[in-house]
């Protein structure tokens, strides 16, 4: 049952991606992207609810669940932040990322076919897992905004201003502000996640994961500090955010 819900959510996200891209190509902004993403969000919630019930704990026990949780966090941030900062086009860029993550989760062997019941789950462990993955959702969305900035920056620099995408992209300054705010929110969540990680009972293997998380935290902290104190060009900030996000996914190799 849970697999079918995930397949449905992935198909909806794929339709949302195509719909969004067609709208952008036509030079219009479709509110349907938000509706599709809301439907995807419900499917993710139902899937994670099923898995959580089967595990008796936060559903972050294999790479498949982590990818779905990450997609859920990404969709949640899009629904909350996208409308707040009036960058609904973010959905057009978010939907393909969610489709890819969930498609990988559906590859046989990535999701545990027979979820086990955990009886020794710790409170701090659950806090660590959920806040850390939420933080990654924020970092992922910041990376999406960074890609949007890089596209817009290139078009403005080269005076290519006729495409539907150019007309629909939010202004440069709005993208930069959104990126910075997302990094701040995600950074705060990651701080909480790391503190909870050190408080939970952990073995030698988990220590490697926690140290990798600290390295990610330091990297983003340095980037934000640099932006705040010295300043950074939009292009350097965006490239750093994209590269940092790709590198930071390596943390999950330790799970």
């Amino acid at each position: 049952m849970d697999h079918w819900i995930l397949i449905l959510g992935t198909v909806l996200a794929a339709i949302g991606s195509v719909w969004g891209m067609v709208s952008v190509h036509r030079g219009t902004r479709s509110l349907w992207t938000i509706v599709w993403m809301l439907a995807v969000f419900v499917c993710q919630l139902v899937f994670l609810g099923f898995r959580g019930k089967e595990h008796g704990t936060c559903p972050l026990t294999d790479h498949g669940e982590i990818l779905v949780f990450l997609s859920w966090a990404l969709t949640l941030f899009y629904l909350l932040v996208g409308s707040t900062y009036r960058i609904s086009l973010l959905g057009v860029f978010t939907a393909p990322v969610v489709t890819v993550f969930q498609s990988i989760a559906l590859i046989p062997g990535v999701l545990d076919e027979n979820p086990q019941k955990f009886t020794n789950g710790s409170f701090w462990h659950e806090i660590h897992s959920s806040t850390a993955v939420l933080a990654y959702g924020g970092f992922a969305l910041a990376a999406v905004a960074a890609v949007m900035f890089l596209v817009l920056d290139k078009q403005l620099k080269e005076h290519h201003l006729k495409s539907g995408l150019f007309r629909n992209l939010p202004p440069v300054r709005e993208l930069l502000v959104s990126m910075e705010r997302l990094l701040q929110i995600a950074g705060t969540l990651l701080t909480l996640g790391i503190i909870a990680g050190f408080l939970m009972p952990h073995d030698h293997k988990a220590l490697g994961h926690l140290l990798a998380a600290v390295a990610v935290w330091s990297g983003y902290g340095f980037l934000l500090g640099l932006k705040l104190v010295r300043g950074l060009t939009g292009r350097k900030l965006s490239l750093s955010v994209v590269i940092m996000f790709i590198l930071s996914l390596g943390v999950f190799a330790f799970v």
Partner: protein, 338 residues
């Protein structure tokens, strides 16, 4: 009953003729009711803008009403050379008159193709006539339908897409970079007419403060006062560069005023925030290598003109589609008198 339209516009009459027939916006109702006082005329609406004056009438016979109207106008404007002025008028009857009104409301007959201001101006003229009791069944239906057609044309085609003047292109680009301009500061280098117009457009869209720098400090002060900004001595503009977001340059200097080194010097203090340069001077005021700086967006007069030309061409391509909508909507109307 027949519908007719008599009018002149920027294409058929020079300004010295147009101004003779212009009707003040507060007098449109009275002018409309005057039309209905003519023999055989039942309804009337007068539209008057800086580019056109048009009279829409519903009369027993269009040809007779046209003669009466021309005589009425000659008498009213006390023209001595009647024969020299009358050729400036265009005359449209029945369905042609209805079609013309729809084209006017849709901005297809405007000097700046697709402009939106005309919609409000026609609406005001119609409401004035309606308020004065100069309209009835035919013109009420016609104008209501024309407004519907105007809206449809604007929403279903790209007739108003893009900016068609250099100033508006620059302002649109500024909004694409900075979003709301209320948090943006502007510096003008050279107090010429083009910079003044562009800066005024930016201020009208909310730009926060204006700094004016000019070789003649008195001229800078004068323009700064006019725009509610501050004058800056010409040898001090580099220090202002640290805080502004948009620079409009239009000096008469024979060489580049803004060098790459000037901008490089200000980058750290600006914390590498985006900076938009609008160079409308010929020869150019801003060294092209300034545009190679990462956070700088540089547009010169040729690029802005090209963008405006492209927008105009895109609008031209939409005319056929607009005409198709107008014809389809008028066919549905089945209006008496057309």
């Amino acid at each position: 009953m027949e519908l007719l339209c008599l009018g002149l516009n920027h294409r058929t009459a020079p300004v010295e003729v147009r101004e003779r027939f212009a009707v003040g916006s507060t007098k449109l109702g009275d002018a409309s009711i005057e039309l209905t006082a003519m023999n055989g005329v039942f309804e009337g609406v007068v539209i008057s803008t800086c580019n056109r004056t048009e009279f829409y009438l519903v009369a027993t016979t269009a040809t007779e009403a046209l003669v009466l109207l021309e005589n009425h106008l000659v008498e009213k404007t006390q023209l001595e050379h009647h024969d020299q002025v009358v050729p400036h008028f265009y005359r449209k009857q029945k369905s042609e008159a209805a079609r013309h009104l729809c084209r006017v409301v849709s901005g297809l007959d405007s000097m700046m193709l697709g402009e939106t201001e005309i919609f409000g101006q026609v609406k005001h003229a119609y409401q004035s006539a309606l308020g004065a009791g100069a309209t009835s069944g035919v013109l009420n239906r016609l104008f209501q339908r024309a407004f519907g057609v105007g809206k449809k044309v604007r929403t279903e085609t790209r007739i108003q897409e893009g900016s068609t003047s250099v100033g508006n292109v620059a302002v649109d680009l500024a909004e694409k970079i900075f979003g709301h301009l209320k948090d943006s500061e502007v510096m003008i280098l050279g107090a010429g007419e083009m910079s003044r117009i562009t800066a005024q457009s930016l201020v009208s869209r909310g730009a926060r403060s204006i700094f004016v720098s000019n070789r003649s400090y008195d001229r800078a002060e004068e323009l700064a006062k006019e725009m509610g900004g501050c004058a800056v001595r010409f040898d001090e503009w580099q220090s202002v560069l640290e805080r502004v977001d948009i620079v409009i340059s239009s000096t008469g200097a024979p060489h580049a005023i803004v060098q790459r080194a000037d901008v490089e010097k200000a980058r750290r203090a600006r914390k590498y925030r985006p900076l938009f340069f609008i160079d409308i001077a010929v020869p150019r005021d801003i060294d092209p290598s300034v545009g190679e700086i990462e956070e700088v967006y540089l547009y010169d007069i040729d690029t802005l003109e090209q963008l405006a030309d492209e927008a105009r061409a895109r609008r031209q391509k939409q005319i056929e589609e607009c005409e198709r909508i107008i014809d389809a909507e008028l066919a549905k109307l089945n209006l008496p008198g057309t």
